[in-house]
């Protein structure tokens, strides 16, 4: 039986981060993962991440994944793939299935970083081919380069449903509807707004009645539900779709911890059965640690910090560092993690209706129910200004932990301040040079450059654009509003793609000046 200082189960964002920290401190570390490739779900995340610089904000998930693998290789972390850990026993003994062989390993310490599995909901027809998980959609389109379907209904309006929905549009699929049984959109408003402005309709307080088809999905019926989740007769709506994608939450994969005898609890705020642990992942069994989604559903950014914490805590447990060093190292990670856990979407706010922003501004009701801020609501937010000449218009209306826009502006005209969840505001005293760095840096694609004095009677609108084909200069089409409806005629007057924009193209259109505050998307004729 082989023995290691530290055995980590799971080579995702938290497991790899833990391994890096432990290996850096001289520990002999091995990581097992059941998959063919390391990185967990990071390589399926093609959107720019939120947070601030220390959280790798505005870097795309798969790029963070590559960085993490490089760092793991540099520190000499050993990752064994296609290796399924099937048991965790007394005295930190693990049993792992590699190929057809079952091997035993012993760890002086163990970190469980197994992540989470997707939840599902059942309805008549849910077993039909064509009903898939959101993770399956991401795997097919972003890893294997195959479209998950052509016309898709997305069930679930949390960040997973919204982000995967947008990715489906990016690879050329059509989204017939985005449906959620909840009365309000669960994910970030900016993610919803990206979908809504392309014309994706949102159906809140709706769920699936049935999926239709004999051999595979050919259609779906949804209906509105009342407050006790009963269908309201007469509210049925039918869509011809070939794919139904489910993004209805995640559950921690904590079975190994339960098996090892760690104290567990059922905690809905953390996503289900989770080990009882302290803020650095120490479970009830000394030497067994947890990190990432297995101890509570959050996101990859926080999982990476939790992983680093657990790796450092394991190093201290085995005496590789002393308590002073432990406390010093954890303090800065504490700060980084608490930054991500602030704002309206903080874990403690899960399920709560928040009516006002920290600034005391009423939250957009339309954003929560339809996926876009209504024209008569947008003016009240501090990022929405009218100035002479070109200037940024920031349609960021919820307190989310994110601030790359503040650093992106070379002139410093965007202010968020120390609190990274504060709404961005424009400093009118600094003049915008129209470089577009803020537009490309916004992970929520919520920043536009507007020039209401572009030419006599016309305004220019510069928007982030991450679709193919990229419209060419001179192409005419329609400008769509935040709600995805046609507002006016538009013409493409500039297309900018720079390496610094990291694949977010800047599309500038010209619209009649009276639509400057309404036009937010472009559809070529």
């Amino acid at each position: 039986m082989k023995r290691y200082d530290l055995i980590i189960v799971g080579a995702g964002p938290s497991g790899l981060s833990a391994a890096i920290e432990a290996a850096k401190r001289g520990m002999n570390v091995i990581v097992f993962d059941e998959n063919e490739r390391p990185g967990g779900q990071l390589f399926k995340q093609i959107h720019k991440f939120f947070g601030s610089k220390e959280h790798k904000a505005k870097v795309r998930g798969f790029v963070i994944g590559k960085q993490l693998l490089d760092e793991a290789a540099e520190t000499g972390v050993k990752v064994i793939l296609n290796a399924t850990v099937i048991g965790l026993y007394q005295d930190k003994e693990i049993v792992v299935k590699i190929g057809e062989a079952v091997e035993h390993y012993k760890g002086n310490s163990i970190i469980i970083a197994t992540g989470a599995a997707e939840n599902m909901v059942t309805f008549p027809g849910w077993t039909l081919p064509g009903v898939i998980g959101a993770g399956a959609a991401q795997t097919m389109m972003n890893i294997h380069g195959v479209k998950p379907g052509s016309k898709i209904l997305m069930l679930g309006s949390g960040n997973v449903g919204l982000v995967v929905g947008f990715q489906l549009l990016q690879c050329g699929c059509e989204i017939a509807a985005l449906v959620d049984a909840a009365p309000r959109i669960g994910g970030y408003g900016v993610h919803a707004a990206k979908l809504a402005r392309t014309g994706v309709p949102f159906y809140l307080s709706h769920t699936i009645v049935e999926a239709e088809g004999d051999a595979c999905v050919t259609g779906v019926t949804i209906a509105e539900i009342d407050s006790s989740f009963n269908f309201i007769p007469g509210t049925e709506k039918h869509f011809d779709v070939d794919t139904i994608c489910m993004a209805v939450g995640l559950s921690p994969m904590s079975q190994l911890l339960k098996m090892a005898g760690c104290k567990m609890e059922d905690n809905p705020k953390r996503g289900g059965q989770v080990p009882i642990c302290d803020e650095y992942g120490r479970t009830s069994i000394p030497g067994i640690f947890v990190a990432g989604d297995v101890s509570g559903i959050e996101e990859a950014s926080s999982a990476m910090i939790e992983g680093r914490m657990a790796g450092i805590a394991a190093a201290e447990y085995l005496g590789y560092i002393d308590e002073n060093e432990l406390n010093k190292e954890l303090a800065s990670l504490d700060k980084a993690l608490s930054g991500l856990r602030q704002g309206m979407f903080a874990p403690e706010n899960r399920g709560r209706l928040i009516e006002k922003t920290d600034e005391g501004i009423a939250v957009s009701d339309s954003l929560l129910k339809k996926g876009y801020v209504a024209d008569d609501e947008i003016e009240r937010f501090p990022g929405f200004t009218h100035t002479k000449g070109i200037h940024p218009v920031m349609e960021c209306t919820q307190n989310i932990p994110c601030n790359p826009c503040q650093d992106a502006c070379p002139k410093g005209c965007i202010k968020i301040g120390k609190d990274i969840t504060a709404l961005p505001a424009v400093d009118d005293s600094v003049s915008c040079i129209g470089c577009g760095m803020c537009v490309a840096s916004c992970s929520g694609q919520a920043i536009f450059l507007v020039d209401e004095t572009y030419e006599e009677g016309y305004a220019s609108i510069t928007m982030p654009y991450e679709f193919f084909p990229l419209p060419e200069i001179g192409i005419k089409g329609k400008a769509l509003g935040r709600d995805g409806q046609i507002v006016c005629e538009a013409e493409v007057i500039n297309v900018k793609s720079l390496p610094a924009f990291d694949k977010t193209n800047l599309l500038t259109i010209k619209v009649p000046v009276e639509y400057a505050s309404k036009a937010r998307f472009f559809k070529a004729e």
Binding site: E34, M141, H144, G145, V146, C171, F468
Partner: protein
């Protein structure tokens, strides 16, 4: 193969292995070496991977990461192969799985 994403706005050209031919129920299908069997089938528009043993209901890709076992098929004569995590090779023989066999239920009942 229009279900293949040839050029992606973020990922660019997706890297593929060398083209290979395999059989799906005696039909020749093209795919790329090393991609999951399920990806090649999906790209070819094949949705049904198997029929359940008791109720003979169709199943296809569901989780695509080897967790749910909905997509299992008979591969090179071996049943219950998770096609979403099994890399495709030249000349593979992939068959619809009926219960746990490549024989249709009719054939199974006749006991041939």
């Amino acid at each position: 193969m229009e279900t293949r994403i040839e050029n992606h706005p973020i990922l660019g050209d997706t890297k593929k292995g060398k083209p290979v031919t395999f059989t799906y129920n005696d039909m020749e299908v093209q795919g790329y070496e090393g991609e999951p069997i399920a990806a090649a089938l999906k790209a070819a528009g094949i949705m049904v991977h198997r029929y359940t043993k008791k109720e003979h209901k169709p199943r296809g890709i569901f989780c695509a990461i080897g967790r749910c076992t909905d997509c299992v098929m008979v591969v090179d004569g071996k049943p219950n192969i998770r096609t979403c995590v099994t890399p495709l090779k030249q000349g593979m023989k992939v068959q619809t799985q009926y219960g746990v066999s490549a024989d249709t239920f009719d054939k199974q009942q006749r006991g041939v």
